[in-house]
Symmetry: C2
Subunit: 432 residues, 2 copies
């Protein structure tokens, strides 16, 4: 039986040319939007009607790069030089993570993301079956991939690759289709070239996209040149990575020529402004990437290098820093930042029918409470969404047409238990 | 009769060397903190006790630069070149502002600020008696000043100066001492030198500090050189502005020599990172200013160029952008960003006994709800305050020992009426 319901008197961010916002009606049937317009549609008397007055509906936010389980290390070492942070803080702790830790750390992040309006997340980590279980339980949409570091003997490399392939094969399309998978060599500086080529082959065999870190720091770009005589973009191109649909995270340090190569191969970029600033990696050339036609979306990166999962903050940072750094106040306008957090996010994660409010699209959507001081006056709700709003303004969240957050409370997860178990995991890890 | 109450089991951000946070007890008597420590103090049986479990107490945030009434223009023209924004959007609308508009616009901002944990704001605008009334009604602390643009005939200049002086004299110390005043020539590029000198004389006569805009854009610095043969810092020094306690807003474009001059005269700087990025003014040299010993605090600037009044966002931007732009991940650590938003803010606004949680200080303070995913694990509450928190995490707010926000609701203002009247003001202004 079809589940059908309607919103009346809502405000909907449709981001259409000349009409960024529609005031009116939306009908959802099962997982899809079947009507969206100013005119009241004909519906049966039994159709449930929700009053959308004081609610601003946006497409669900898409977080295109992260390591959710790292929430367990939030605030555990900040304001440190990158190598000190990694070698003395992150890596020793992460080496101790059990499957259970990944389950609770990911649950903590998924809870924060859902309540903050993120309906899809891309996650690259280890113990990915645990992450997939959290996606199943939570009702969220997840694009999941086992990130493999290849600095190990060939037999360990093989074991990790097999694990990554098995995960990608087993879980693709699971959770009523809410889980899709990718193939991920971690980064050019952590995977030898021949190992990366094996991932490319696996991605071809499984017909899956590739996700990897690329050119996050100037130092790693220089190392790539020293080791392989090429900058990372040309190096990955040579290894065949861009022969697959590909999403690269960070892409902070790029030449004009590299931007052209990314555009040519339609490589999507996950821009992580909060993480890049906090770790002092630099400021990505986002206006130039967008101008070249590259799909640029937004990611929080792991919660230990951000330190929250508020995608409104990433959208705002994207809209703000490129103005300040370029000196051009028209760089990355509000509507473009919103598209980066929604439509371009879905495209970067290779998801069809997600990321926009329109008939035929999946009902992955969120409603903000606009009955608040910082949403007044009612001048421009796209501007308010980017320059004024935060995760805490999210009132309701739906994924695949099912409500997962109602009046700020998560309907699918046991919030109190997750908070308790995540704290317990951290305490155990820090005393091991 | 003394009003005395106590918090038990609270967590208090004291930012002391080696002990950033204390878990324990705080006693407040009337407007002051009279006890703060780990040991339970002896109190009478009648003393009201508040449970502070899951609450993180911070000093109230101090917003050291803004134009509160400009909330009426939030979202009215974004992503535009500065001169287009000013000349086609802001100025024509502001010219129509009545006293009533300033009252409701300021009320909207004060509501947002109080609920978001800001207990003191510096405000430079017109119709300042209206702003003062809002401060009286709301229970907030305000450092108020009539900002005067001097691009007008001498008789109009004189009238404006007289008005600014009368306001500063009449309102200093009002609202049980919660209002203090300053003297404000708007900026070196909007006030002729001889007019600025009259403000300096007035500030001497009234024994008040001076507040002005300075070096916000590269263009205005160049214009100053063209017009007066000096960059703005030397120009203002020459005119005697720094012979008074002084607070300059923005200070984005500074040479090493200018930083030395500001340090020598103990001029305080209000850093406005959100506004500076959004208007593409540039990135202030905050690490260098702090290193030179300059007091750097934080301001939101007007809500039309920000576009919210979330001081947590300004603290986070200050902690993030200077890392990303300088390439140094240790620049502006979390505790320093928190001091910029609190202790240095109070110092910049020339307020004694405000800005820290310590015995003898005014009980201007806020409590955040830490029972949320993004405050876990309980690793480092100073880090969480800066890198994870937002205005919406504020649960309670006290100014001068009196509670003004309780469980997220403002006790002193009629929220619904303010939202309605602010929207009405905007609608009237936009159809005039």
């Amino acid at each position: 039986m079809t589940t059908k319901w309607m919103v009346k008197n809502g405000t909907f961010a449709v981001l259409q040319e000349g009409q960024p916002v529609i005031r009116g009606y939306m009908v959802v049937e099962d997982d899809r939007i079947t009507y969206l317009g100013e005119e009241e549609p004909q519906v049966d008397a039994e159709t449930r009607v929700m009053d959308g007055t004081h609610l601003l509906f946006l497409p669900g936010l898409v977080n295109t790069h992260g390591h959710a389980a790292m929430s367990l290390l939030r605030g555990f070492g900040d304001d440190l030089a990158l190598q000190v942070w990694l070698q003395e803080k992150m890596w020793p702790m992460e080496a101790k993570f059990t499957a259970d830790d990944v389950y609770w750390g990911t649950s903590l992040s998924v809870l924060e993301m859902l309540k903050g309006g993120t309906t899809t997340f891309v996650d690259m980590y280890d113990h990915m079956d645990q992450v997939a279980k959290v996606v199943q339980d939570s009702g969220m949409r997840g694009v999941l991939t086992r990130g493999v570091i290849g600095l190990c003997p060939p037999e360990v490399q093989k074991q990790k690759l097999d694990e990554a392939v098995a995960f990608a094969k087993d879980w693709h399309g699971q959770a009523e289709g809410r889980i899709t998978t990718m193939i991920s060599p971690h980064a050019p500086y952590t995977c030898p070239p021949d190992f990366i080529e094996k991932f490319v082959q696996a991605a071809h065999d499984l017909n899956l996209p590739i996700h990897t870190h690329m050119s996050e720091t100037a130092a790693e770009v220089q190392q790539n040149v020293n080791d392989y005589g090429l900058r990372p973009v040309a190096h990955l191109e040579k290894l065949g990575v861009f022969s697959r649909p590909a999403l690269v995270a960070h892409a902070v340090h790029l030449t004009d020529e590299e931007i052209e190569i990314l555009a040519k191969h339609q490589v999507a970029v996950s821009h992580n402004p909060g993480s890049n600033l906090k770790l002092a990696s630099g400021v990505a050339r986002v206006p130039e990437l967008l101008k070249a036609g590259v799909t640029v979306s937004l990611g929080t990166d792991g919660p230990a290098s951000n330190n929250n999962l508020d995608m409104f903050e990433e959208m705002r940072l994207a809209a703000l820093i490129h103005k300040g750094v370029s000196g051009d106040p028209t760089a990355v306008p509000a509507a473009e930042a919103l598209r980066m957090g929604t439509e371009y996010g879905a495209k970067s994660a290779f998801l069809d029918n997600v990321g926009r409010l329109a008939v035929g699209m999946k009902a992955d959507m969120i409603a903000l409470n606009t009955d608040q001081a910082h949403f007044l006056p009612r001048t421009d709700y796209i501007s308010h969404s980017i320059y004024s709003a935060s995760a805490k303004d999210v009132e309701h969240v739906w994924v695949d047409g099912k409500q997962v957050v109602k009046h700020g409370s998560c309907l699918t997860l046991d919030e109190e238990r997750i908070r308790r178990e995540a704290q317990r995991s951290f305490e155990r890890l820090s005393t091991l």
